[in-house]
Symmetry: D2
Subunit: 140 residues, 4 copies
């Protein structure tokens, strides 16, 4: 396992919210991260679709970890802002967010991510994010 992969996995384990979502992470390669969770009723909104907050949760974390995988050593990352378009109802057995770095500056890293619902072996794009992430030197 490479160093950037270790950094991502170590941080992911400390995200209690990811456990609440039942989520798992996969690091495809430097700058490319996937997070997925299975459907669970506790994550739904009033129409039994998965709530935008849960989908945004994995989109945001996937973008953050894509950014972390390219950030300099001794740096942590912080989401500055993101925009999400909800493209279709989040209906399915499993949901995943795939993020990639669009541009890595010295301080700011811009990432794009798409979220997919899987149902009966078919994938459908349900949301897309454009995010700005800040790289910050560790304190202490």
């Amino acid at each position: 396992m490479q160093q950037f992969e270790e950094r991502v996995r170590e941080s992911f384990r400390r995200q209690a919210f990811m456990a609440t979502l039942g989520a798992d992470v996969a690091i495809e390669k430097k700058g490319q991260v996937e997070i997925r969770f299975p459907f669970h009723r506790s994550l739904t909104q009033q129409n039994d679709f998965v709530h935008a907050g849960a989908i945004t949760g994995i989109l945001d974390s996937a973008c953050g970890y894509a950014a972390l995988s390219v950030a300099p050593d001794n740096h942590d990352v912080l989401s500055v802002e993101f925009k999400v378009n909800l493209l279709a109802p989040a209906v399915g057995d499993e949901f995943c967010a795939r993020a990639q770095v669009k541009r890595a500056g010295k301080t700011l890293i811009v990432c794009a991510a798409d979220a997919y619902a899987r149902k009966n072996g078919q994938e459908k794009m349900v949301a897309t994010m454009l995010a700005t992430i800040m790289a910050l030197k560790h304190r202490g």
Copy 2:
């Protein structure tokens, strides 16, 4: 209780994700809604701040219900897209999102919402959302 308040409360009860967050809703008046939840470790990210997905969850639902409260009868609402700026770490005992309708068109409703963290009786703005919501006639 007025009719729009009933519509909001009835829909909120069916949102399992709001129960997962431990959230409660208050309808200030037509077009203005507040959702809050107490801190819980299950909602945190790697630095023990509340995760952006949880904060986005109440911002999005608050915007949706603000929109629902002004939508015509027999209409449901659907989030089209939103942008969130994360202004400060979400650290505190309680978190709330306050949404208001910025412009209500026939099909699209634009809402703005701010999220606050409360700690030692003090409130601090931690995030702000600008959202587009669609009003759709009920089917059936």
Copy 3:
């Protein structure tokens, strides 16, 4: 020339702001449009970079025309909202925006576009847009 190409060209000719920018349009194929303009001092901001308003102008129009090329006959398009990330200073001899349709719904069409600066034969991405566009039936 195909019908969707004609619709785009006819509308583009009526955009006085595109003439003010010195811009030209190219329709790659259905759902994919490029707009470009040469550098001109009248479009700059205080550091002699091209102003974000000019870059946003071609990103927005490129997204609108990508949407128009897939919209049903007898429909016009209207930008609902967009988000732009400015990735690098807009410095160069020529600037272009390339848009494509990300998802076409019945009422709303989501497009993504990237803007590039060309200098000494090299292209650099300077901005990226994620946009929501509405298809509206012609009146009258």
Copy 4:
């Protein structure tokens, strides 16, 4: 004239694009800036509304100058990203954008701005922006 007002006016004069729009600036107070321009046919899109690129131009510059007015001495500002919701057709005799600082951090400043069209002495909100701006130390 106070120092922050001088900084804004001096920078505004160097923005050729603002002259192209026929725009003027007013600094209300620290952290609050207004930019306006009269209607001109050269700024229109295919329906004779003012183009989103022109409206975005003054929204972006108003946010930038609101940020500049609160930035530390010896700092310049740079737009990182913005989101614009287009609320109504930009039809009128005059257009203005009013920006204010929402949160000023050490590196990033978040601003909100609304754009209005004036017609027959009446004002109508036509767009709203949420923007992230970076403060950078002058080089040299």
